[in-house]
Amino acid sequence: MADPGAGAAAPGAPTVIADAVHIAYTVPTGPGTHRRVHAVRGVGFVARRGESIGLIGSNGSGKSTLLKAIAGLQQTESGRVYTRGRPALLGVDAALMGDLSGERNVILGGLAMGMSRSGIASRYEGIVDFSGLPDGRDGRENALARPMRTYSSGMAARLRFAIAATARSHDVLLVDEALATGDARFQRRSRRRIDELRAAAGTVFLVAHSHATIRETCDRALWLEAGTLRMDGPAEEVTAAYEEFTRTGATPPDE
């Protein structure tokens, strides 16, 4: 059988394989009581080099949880996620260390990811430029000197995106709605950066509310509903089917 997902996709090697993945976690609901959340139920897919894959679905459908599992930051209950290299996750719960300055966060984030001090020093300016935060050079305030907890969520998301995206090229890049934050200029910049990263022979996963973003950025889409994979195919078709599904007023089962 031919590689189908998208007819145009180059038959690249697999970079992410999800094999019957179930994810459940317990949420404390009070003293001594827990609630079990079965967030992802038996999802399987193969992602290949050069693909850019959008994840869509209603709130609570398991998109972000699945992304965390691909990143290796969420254990699976059963099934496995196989990845090439170590995926990098860019999310919006952004401040790495809130009481430290933006500058310190850039340095510590880079060191934590395994970059060398000199590597960070040579990339520092690029990271700050990319984030678009005022750094005091043009007479405006220097936001990098402020503790990160004083940032707006958009600013923090931009800086964190800049930190993670400037690291060495990743085989797999996971983006959780980072494009939805920040102003239009930053969105354009980050979209360009994602294109660059894709061109560097990686695979990109993107969770975004905006279907326009998914259609523009991705060639393939996975539609999750109540933790199950409802549809997997070209981004245009999957988003169209999802829109049809929401327009006909069918409510997602878990809401």
């Binding site: 394989i17 094999d19 969420q74 254990q75 996620v81 090439r84 510590l108 934590a112 089917a241």
Partner: protein, 316 residues
């Protein structure tokens, strides 16, 4: 098996919305085999112990920078800033001197009570603060843990190093005070170095274990102050075991057991090194073996136990 095999199950062309594709997928072996053939690894799997240690070593710059950054952040809100690094232990010692030295007269029969007390307070504070920091090492840095990959043991180890730096600063102040009391450096002062190294290993090991415990059960950090206070009171921080033994109110084995507890062992070793009137008779038997034993046991045990849950930190 050749590369033409097997078609990935996701490879089904776009299909209309329908029931969940539960039974649709190919047997799991196919995907696992595909992953193996292309050299993919299980995401988030815990690395073997040796690879883990190598990963930690390659993050040594991060470990150092994290400690420095924490230290800066800790005092960034205070007017006197870094001066508190010195003021806090000295004020603590002043309070204990007032309470125990003067009001409760614990200094009765203890020559050089002030150096005795200061050494006890500083050395104890190092272990106590390292353990307290350990309970928050993971739970207090979830933003970092959830965003980036790095060996999680970096966090408790970094915080232990930070506390070690604070201890060295306190001891520098102590040395200045010792000069004022007319005590001058002797070769025995060098014994403080191995004693503190072993104490660092011990504290870091227990801190790693507490980090794992508190990552799962945050209530541990609520309990810690009580545990630590009890431990402090039984470890002879502000009173002397010799006075306790001489009082005759406790059986010898109780005194011996308290003397052999790790906190007391490290405190008394540093006292033995720095305080001239604190002689070898006041140390428990086989004291260096005890110090090394506690250190190795705690560090090896704590490290391995922490590593065994590496993939679970920051989840959910």
């Amino acid at each position: 098996m050749t590369l033409t095999l097997p078609p990935p199950p996701t490879a089904t062309p776009a299909r209309p919305a329908g029931p969940p594709p539960a039974g649709r997928r190919a047997p799991d072996e196919d995907l696992a085999a595909l992953a193996r053939r292309h050299g993919l690894s299980v995401s988030g799997a815990r690395p073997p112990l040796t690879a883990y240690v190598r990963g930690l070593w390659s993050r040594r710059d991060f470990i150092a920078a994290f400690a420095t950054a924490r230290l800066t952040a800790q005092y960034s809100q205070a007017r006197l800033g870094q001066l508190w690094q010195l003021m806090t232990p000295l004020l603590n010692a002043a309070v204990y001197y007032l309470m125990f030295g003067i009001l409760m007269n614990a200094q009765h029969g203890v020559p050089d009570y002030l150096p005795f007390l200061l050494t006890g307070v500083f050395v104890w504070t190092f272990t106590a603060n390292t353990l307290t920091a350990g309970t928050r090492a993971i739970s207090g840095n979830l933003g970092l843990v959830r965003a980036l990959h790095f060996p999680r043991a970096s966090l408790p180890l970094s915080l232990a190093l930070l506390q070690l730096q604070q201890l060295l600063l306190s001891l520098a102040a102590l040395v200045v005070l010792l000069f004022c009391f007319g005590e001058f450096p002797t070769w025995s002062w060098l014994l403080a170095v191995p004693a503190i190294l072993l104490q660092t290993l011990f504290s870091a090991g227990v801190s790693l274990a507490l980090a794992r415990l508190a990552a799962r059960t945050p209530d541990i950090s609520q309990l810690m102050p009580f545990v630590l206070r009890t431990w402090m009171y039984v470890s002879g921080v502000m009173w002397s075991f010799s006075s306790m033994a001489a009082s005759g109110r406790f059986p010898d084995w109780v005194v011996l057991a308290l003397r052999c507890n790790p906190a007391a062992v490290y405190i008394d070793l540093v006292r033995f090194a720095l305080v001239r009137s604190f002689t070898a008779e006041q140390l428990p038997p086989h004291v260096w073996a005890l110090a090394a034993g506690w250190a190795l046991l705690a560090f090896a045990g704590g490290f391995v136990w922490f590593w065994k849950a590496e993939e679970t930190y920051g989840r959910g």
